[in-house]
Symmetry: C2
């Protein structure tokens, strides 16, 4: 068989698989429609989008995957398939912190897939308003950046908003080597935030072993300074800094590990059921007395509930009063978590569950 014939034969098989795929995709859409109809007949307010169900499906897809397609790619495709099925039923309108092209848009796209209607709004407060007024079904806001820390404005907004956290999205952050130089071998000095230097240590050792490293306050600062320097200098920064300061991108994605991420929250009006692997976010304020915080956290420690994050913020209601934003593992409907939260509540002057939601799957 000639190469051409062999190719033709395999392509015919691909076309056959594609037809089957297409018919299954339409079948799945029709089944999703049945789910929606059953929910509507029941009279209660129908949540077409069920974050916990999506998270469970994605985890199953990854667990049972045999390849050759990677688990991650397979889950990405199923995210898109679910997005399309959902949109065929009722297009989800999502408000996100704009402008178009922002990382928050990328996060919204990653979480809701390409079939959702994404609407940029100009402030975090406006994302909350858009969901509170039901202009949008859900909102996406940045909450944590592993190099810049918390986006405090987002957390503060929960103090006065009735909205819940319905999900989280994480996006990897990439580092770029920017310079006025045209080739890597010209670079003798590298400027960046110490954390960025650390995150690219291995790459710098391999590619620029002779270069001297200069820590600065921020990566943007480094890019700004390097823009005014000669061709022997380079900065580690985001690709946006190349455009802003007119620098060349000498190398992309130079971070040693992919673990460097920004975190976003999905906010909504829904109470999300347990998916099996969940997180719960709490807003707590303590009575202002010595040892209050230790007492507060004791029930969690006693019950072996892992706390992934705690952040204190001024409550704005009086001096020395703080509110704490606490993330714990588990769902508020899990019996152990529920009993710990009950104890925690009795130690608090303010206590609110901001939401239980599936841990980011991808």
């Amino acid at each position: 068989m000639s190469e051409k014939q062999a190719l033709q034969a395999v392509r015919e098989q691909i076309d056959k698989v594609d037809k089957q795929l297409q018919s299954l995709l339409n079948e799945r859409t029709a089944l999703a429609h049945q789910v929606a109809e059953i929910k509507q007949q029941s009279g209660e307010q129908a949540d077409f989008y069920r974050p916990e169900r999506e998270a469970m499906i994605l985890r199953q897809v990854m667990e049972r995957n045999t390849g050759p397609l990677s688990d991650k790619e397979m889950a990405r495709l199923f995210r898109e398939i679910m997005s399309a099925c959902l949109a065929a039923e009722k297009p989800l309108r999502i408000a996100y912190l704009g402008p178009e092209g922002s990382f928050t848009q990328a996060a919204a796209l990653k979480h809701f897939g390409g079939s959702a209607e994404l609407h940029p709004v100009s402030t975090i407060a406006n994302v909350f308003s858009a969901v509170e007024t039901e202009y949008a079904c859900y909102g996406v806001v940045p909450v944590e950046n592993s190099t810049e820390g918390m986006v405090n404005h987002t957390l503060d907004r929960f103090v006065s908003s009735p909205l819940k956290i319905n999900g989280e999205v994480t996006l990897p952050i990439h580092h770029y080597l920017l310079s006025n130089a045209s080739q890597l071998s010209d670079v003798k000095k590298v400027y960046a935030h110490p954390q960025a230097l650390a995150q690219c240590r291995q790459w710098l050792g391999d590619q620029l072993a002779q270069a001297e490293l200069f820590p600065l306050d921020s990566n943007s600062e480094a890019a700004k300074r390097v823009a005014e320097m000669g061709e022997d200098s380079a900065a580690i920064a985001a690709s946006t800094a190349a455009e802003i300061y007119g620098l060349k991108v000498l190398a992309s994605n130079i971070e040693d590990e992919a673990g460097n991420t920004t975190r976003f929250l999905v906010i909504g009006n829904q109470n999300v059921g347990p998916s099996g692997v969940d997180k719960t976010a709490l807003l707590v304020s303590t009575k202002n007395k010595p040892g209050a915080l230790q007492n507060l956290l004791k029930p969690l420690a006693d019950k072996g509930i892992s706390m992934s994050r705690i952040e204190s913020r001024p409550s704005r209601k009086g001096i020395w009063e703080y509110v704490f934003f606490i993330d714990i593992d588990g769902h508020c409907q899990d019996p152990i978590v529920a009993s710990a939260l009950k104890e925690l509540e009795s130690e608090s002057s303010v206590f609110r569950v901001l939401g239980s939601y599936p841990k980011a799957v991808l």
Copy 2:
């Protein structure tokens, strides 16, 4: 059967469909691997990515689609499936005009799907270099904006570059109503480029029938001015302008028709075969004599070949010499097109086929 049981039954069916889908997706990936192996054995340089084959598959998918999933959504899913299969074989590295978050990134994502490796570079010239040096397999650059006209820098680059055009991508452009006002009813004056005012005529008539319309040089200019005005004024502009000038988004996607688009080119080293619905881009320079352009275009007119665009640019080689960038319908291997091009070439002082490529499917 209770609602819960009914839901459970349908969900079990969905899970069954999902298992079949997953196994077919893995089967398709394995078949794509066979295609790659056959190509590699043949010794010649193997183009794993075949734009014409992808375009044909997408068109078939849309033609045979029975629903309930829409043709557009179905094609979008198949784009992602092909992207994943291709990446499993050999991840495609794509250079695009950055920064991350630019519209060009959105175009690259739309064309190559979420599995391609996208690398931002800081100038259009650098996108060309990245592909010329084979750092990247393909590049994506903006070429035409229906409100701003041609991105001339891109066309000029083809005069000296050996690269070909391997595809085109179109992205819809959305208009936003931006203002210092918090509600639409406050707005009495609307500023924008005349084209934007025209594109939103119907929406303005429905929502702001009483408002006075003021044409300005550009939408950015309108946003800038409105930022300094009271709450009775609004601008029509891109959502990015809201962030830049600190304006609120009063309404999104207010254009009357979705036809408003930006166009991007995919550049590469490949000669793309016919897909059945193709375009051909030409670079032509005429002898400097009266009627030269008319003579040049005659063979196209005579053979009924439709010309979708012609753009003249100074050749930089002498006064009164121009080069023309011409887009025609059809593939340069189509017999009628081939014979017209032969005639055209004989009338030209410079003649190059920049590429034949499939018309944008989505």
